[in-house]
């Protein structure tokens, strides 16, 4: 018993140490991205300091800014958790965008057509359908992997495009609202997630997102399922000889991952847009991958990194208005963060050089 406890304590300590070292990498990667971004700004004739200051003010300077930052962060929290859960099981689900769109679309359909439901049923039902269909979309890749050994990176990517065009078809043809915009009609009021910080678009979706952060942390750390998934991710053959079914694990992980992304899509529709509009996602699913990595593949890290990315988006808009710096510098920063995060060894060699 004591042996097991000290073992657990030692592991926890090692985790912690690795965690803080990890956090240093993430911060270094972010700083490095901002430094390169400043060089780009400077080279193109802008003042990086005033641009960054305007961005910061815009993102956190007042209640409105904070509200918009959190609004932008909400969908990314879902998609980053989606990526995180799959990655813990050693899977690379880069198709969160597709699962997000599928969940968004089906929840919109439930929101539109199941009228005369009281909101206490209507909202949860729409969210549930969004999660299940998103999960099902993720499950396709899991089946392709377990039955045909098809790599999930490729299948989830291809399925994302299928989802983009499929939902695009739906809102251009069978479910198109009258008018020239490719969108559905509005969902019933009983399916609307309430806005919690008017006049910003921040909706109760952020609360669902926070709950999911807690759930994911609990799932991965405290449940047998979470343990099994992590075991598969760390060492599949050892997990298998310990009696864990790899195929079932892959299915479960991909379903959960897709469901998280789908739930995010549902929250975005029910809380922010209130209808499915073609192209409403500026790539939240792709952001999720980056954010999960910037967050060090930790649920709370995901939350913090989502807020960073949300702040970039909302602060960027204010920055463009006040300093005329093109908004796209924000996307450049995101790309740079991702590239630097991709190579921890590079950051490590930089830090080492510093210390010498």
């Amino acid at each position: 018993m004591t042996e097991r406890l000290t073992g657990a304590a030692r592991r926890a300590l090692a985790d912690l140490r690795r965690g803080s070292e990890g956090a240093l990498f993430q911060v270094a990667a972010i700083l490095l991205a901002f430094i390169v971004g400043a060089l780009v700004l400077y080279a193109s004739g802008y003042d990086p300091v005033s641009a960054y200051a305007a961005m910061l003010r815009g993102a956190f300077g007042d209640m409105y800014g904070v509200g918009q930052t959190l609004t932008q962060a909400t969908p990314i929290i879902f998609t980053s958790l989606a990526f995180l859960v799959s990655s813990k099981a050693g899977l690379f689900n880069i198709g969160a965008e597709g699962q997000f769109l599928v969940g968004a679309f089906t929840s919109a359909i439930v929101g539109i057509y199941l009228v005369e439901l009281p909101w206490v049923l209507h909202i949860p039902l729409a969210l549930l359908v969004g999660a299940i269909t998103g999960g099902a979309w993720g499950l396709i890749a899991a089946v392709l992997k377990t039955r045909f050994n098809a790599h999930e990176v490729i299948t989830t990517m291809m399925l994302t495009y299928v989802a983009t065009y499929l939902t695009g078809y739906m809102v251009n043809y069978p479910f198109k609202a009258p008018g020239w915009v490719s969108q559905t009609v509005k969902i019933a009021p009983s399916a609307e997630l309430p806005r919690i910080l008017p006049p910003t678009q921040l909706s109760a979706g952020i609360l669902v997102a926070l709950a999911l952060v807690a759930f994911t942390a609990y799932l991965l750390r405290k449940t047998i399922l979470g343990f099994e998934l992590r075991a598969i991710g760390l060492n599949p053959s050892a997990a298998e000889s310990a009696g864990i079914s790899i195929n079932r694990g892959i299915m479960t992980a991909m379903f959960l991952s897709g469901a998280m992304a789908g739930l995010g899509g549902a929250c975005e529709i029910l809380g922010v847009h209130r209808r499915f509009i073609e192209g409403f996602s500026p790539g939240y699913g792709w952001d999720g991958l980056a954010v999960a990595l910037v967050g060090g593949l930790d649920p709370v890290g995901s939350l913090l990194a989502s807020i960073l990315f949300g702040a970039l988006r909302s602060g960027g808009m204010i920055m463009t208005r006040s300093t005329k710096v093109p908004l796209d510098i924000v996307i450049i920063l995101q790309g740079l963060v991702i590239i630097f995060v991709a190579a921890p060894a590079f950051i490590r060699s930089l830090l080492k050089r510093r210390r010498k």
């Binding site: 299928v162 792709w286 980056a290 796209d328 995101q334 790309g335 740079l336 060699s349």
Partner: protein, 308 residues
């Protein structure tokens, strides 16, 4: 009722060949990268950046061929970045590629605004003129399909053959394949694995850059925001559909190019939802991976290589 001949005619096939060109170039590039064990999903971003770079050079020099050269060089440079991250620092290939794509999306729109004051598109620049092959263009049916095209279109099958020869008829090709299939054995046999890997990834960038140049300097004569429209990802699909073989890639590229051309036709006529046709390359690729249409086995396991 729309006449079927308004859709299926020689113009459609000519357009299919045109639309296949950027896909085939990028897919051939991706083939080299994947054959040395590095997935390059950053090809979309590389194409986009090269498309902008090519237009920029043509804008300032008035020479579109210098633009093409610049596009290829930029592609190679971005390939080098991908190689440094994934080979030298053993970083994750998918993450690095995603980063390149996002960076390219932001950077091209940013530069377009700095250079031309518009997020949407650049000014028109000197572009590569189509050439007409004498005699061939007079042959009925075939003439209108392949008789008049951009030189970059005619270069496509040539490059495909070169890729085939390099890969399967030269010692270098043997080294490339060995590095992908069995890096440790390759190293033991005295092959510089890291160098070959760098080379493969850089070539993938250069060929993607050529594809991007075709889009902005031949197909169009300007840079437009997001003008690659997912062709880098289609190229990845074509690579799988073509089973990582040069001529397979050419066929797959032509098939997907045909789908693209058909989709544009139908969109302008409004008879079949374009989304359904746009979906085809992706659905086909998933079907191939599921073994519905033949089998697809990648040429390497995409693991970072560590010298022992």
């Amino acid at each position: 009722m729309v006449d079927l001949l308004d859709v299926i005619n020689v113009g459609l096939f000519a357009a299919a060949i045109r639309m296949a060109t950027p896909i085939v170039y990028a897919a051939l590039g991706g083939m080299f990268s994947e054959r040395v064990g590095v997935v390059n999903i950053g090809m979309e971003g590389i194409m986009l950046t090269s498309a902008l770079g090519g237009v920029t050079v043509s804008y300032y020099t008035g020479n579109p061929w210098l633009g093409v050269a610049a596009a290829v060089a930029i592609g190679g440079l971005m390939g080098l970045v991908h190689a440094v991250v994934t080979v030298k620092y053993a970083g994750n290939q998918i993450v690095s590629g995603t980063g390149l794509n996002i960076l390219a999306m932001g950077f091209t729109a940013y530069m377009s605004q700095i250079l031309w004051g518009s997020r949407g598109a650049s000014e028109s620049v000197a572009s590569i003129e189509d050439i007409t092959i004498p005699f061939l263009s007079d042959v009925p049916v075939i003439g209108p399909i392949i008789g008049t095209h951009s030189p970059l279109v005619y270069l496509m099958p040539v490059v495909t053959v070169i890729c085939y020869v390099v890969l399967f008829r030269t010692p270098l090709g043997l080294h490339i394949r060995a590095v992908g299939e069995h890096p440790t054995a390759a190293e033991t046999a005295g092959i510089d694995v890291v160098r070959i890997k760098y080379m493969g990834v850089i070539v993938s960038g250069m060929l993607s850059g050529l594809g991007g140049a075709f889009l902005s300097l031949s197909h169009l004569n300007l840079f437009a925001r997001g003008m690659t429209g997912g062709r880098g990802f289609i190229a990845l699909a074509a690579l799988i559909f073509g089973k990582w073989m040069p001529f397979g890639v050419l066929e797959a590229g032509l098939l997907f190019g045909f789908a693209d051309a058909l989709q544009m036709r139908l969109q302008s006529l409004g008879i079949l939802p374009p989304q359904i046709i746009l979906m085809i390359p992706y659905v086909l690729t998933v079907a191939v991976l599921a073994g519905v249409v033949g089998k697809a086995k990648p040429p390497s396991d995409y693991k970072p290589y560590k010298r022992e």
